[in-house]
């Protein structure tokens, strides 16, 4: 269904129905593209036992790190939890209060793409012969070794984009694009935080990165353009 932006409620309303135990795909690579306003709303909302998919495991004390600190996350699926400023995750992990599944970064992205693209599984060369191959089916195809990787769908995606039109078409900004487009395809409900909403027709159809079909709710932090088409 089309988002059809209608000056919807803010971030709190957008995340109100996320239930305990939901799998939530959260965009961003470090701080770039991290939907901090939506994450903060999820923290205020209080859903617990969440499974969070993100490239990292929180930086500093805000955003995803604050959600972890609030004890709402049961498990995190990510490629790179350990960073100089990941002290909140580090403490939770070492004291056994959060589960961790480490996935190579490209496999993480491709597993979400598979979920969004209706692919049941794929043979991936990444991680062959490493500890991350443990428990995975291996197969040689055309002389090369692969691991079977399965789709990683989300119940919700919380992502950040640069601009949306009133139908929910999205464009991103520079390397803040990162996981947003693929997470939007992989979640049952995609919630987007944008800096600006423009009139339908104001985005170049050749340059739309996430078509509106993947977008369910848009929260605007900044300026909202006129209602209706641009015509």
């Amino acid at each position: 269904m089309i988002a059809h932006y209608r000056d919807q409620g803010g971030a709190d309303e957008a995340v109100a129905d996320v239930p305990d135990g939901a799998t939530v795909l959260i965009g961003g690579f470090g701080s770039a593209g991290q939907p901090v306003e939506l994450i903060d709303a999820l923290r205020r909302q209080g859903a617990k036992e969440l499974v969070v998919v993100n490239n990292n495991a929180g930086n500093g004390d805000h955003g995803l790190a604050a959600l972890l600190a609030a004890g709402q996350v049961a498990k995190i699926i990510c490629s790179f939890p350990r960073q100089v400023d990941s002290w909140i995750f580090d403490d939770l992990y070492r004291s056994g209060r959060v589960q961790l599944e480490v996935v190579p970064q490209g496999t993480l992205a491709e597993r979400m793409r598979a979920a969004g693209a209706g692919i049941g599984g794929f043979y991936c060369p990444t991680g062959v012969g490493t500890p991350l191959a443990q428990g995975k089916e291996a197969r040689t195809i055309d002389g090369r070794d692969y691991l079977l990787e399965l789709p990683l769908p989300g119940d919700y995606a919380l992502i950040k984009a640069h601009r949306a039109d009133r139908m929910g078409n999205l464009v991103y900004r520079k390397t803040a694009r990162n996981f947003g487009p693929v997470m939007a395809t992989a979640a049952a409900t995609t919630i987007v935080q944008v800096g600006q909403v423009v009139a339908t027709g104001a985005l170049d159809p050749e340059a739309v990165v996430t078509p509106s079909i993947y977008v369910d709710r848009v929260v605007c932090q900044g300026q909202t353009g006129p209602e209706g088409g641009a015509q």
């Binding site: 269904m1 059809h4 693209a117 395809t185 339908t200 050749e206 509106s212």
Partner: protein, 218 residues
Amino acid sequence: MSSPTYHVDRGPLAKDELAALVARNIPDGSFVNLGIGQPTTVADHLSPEQGVVLHTENGMLGMGRAAVGDEIDPDLINAGKIPVIETPGAAYFHHADSFAMMRGGHLDVCVLGAFQVSVNGDLANWHTGAPDAIPAVGGAMDLAIGARQVFVMMSLFTKTGESKLVERCSYPLTGVNCVTTVFTNHAIFDLSPHGARVRAAYGISADELRVRTGLILP
């Protein structure tokens, strides 16, 4: 579930009545793919207020009506290779992304023609099985298994009177257990793994429908 309605005081649906009926069954705000041929005519019955967005497999959301005159652009065509126009809020994408969208279950509805549909939702619409026919599937199999609701739009009977809704398809299949609703000139059928159920019939009685289709229709 409500009982079927038999409109026996009228004839079967005309083609444009059928197209209008299919259009009314598409929920507001849906993303929809209309197959080549008769399904294309459904677009003429969609009102702008419905907010339906049309997808074409060759890489576009927000497809508009057929182009006329100066609007014709050889780079802007639909799946049937007919020039079309772009609507506000359109987006272009490449073929792998277009079919990821279809296969991934993101389209709310697709409307397809068919040679045969079985009561449990199997679809046959790509190959007559004739030994000298050149097989050509296009995007039919991807749509059949990908859209959340698969509507079939066809005449109920062949020119020689055989039912195209069947117990089991004799033509090669396009997809298994995939059709949700069959819209025909004589009746609308809701399908499920448990069989077909008549929603409404036009110019035909319950008994005649059973006799002419040869199907058990609860």
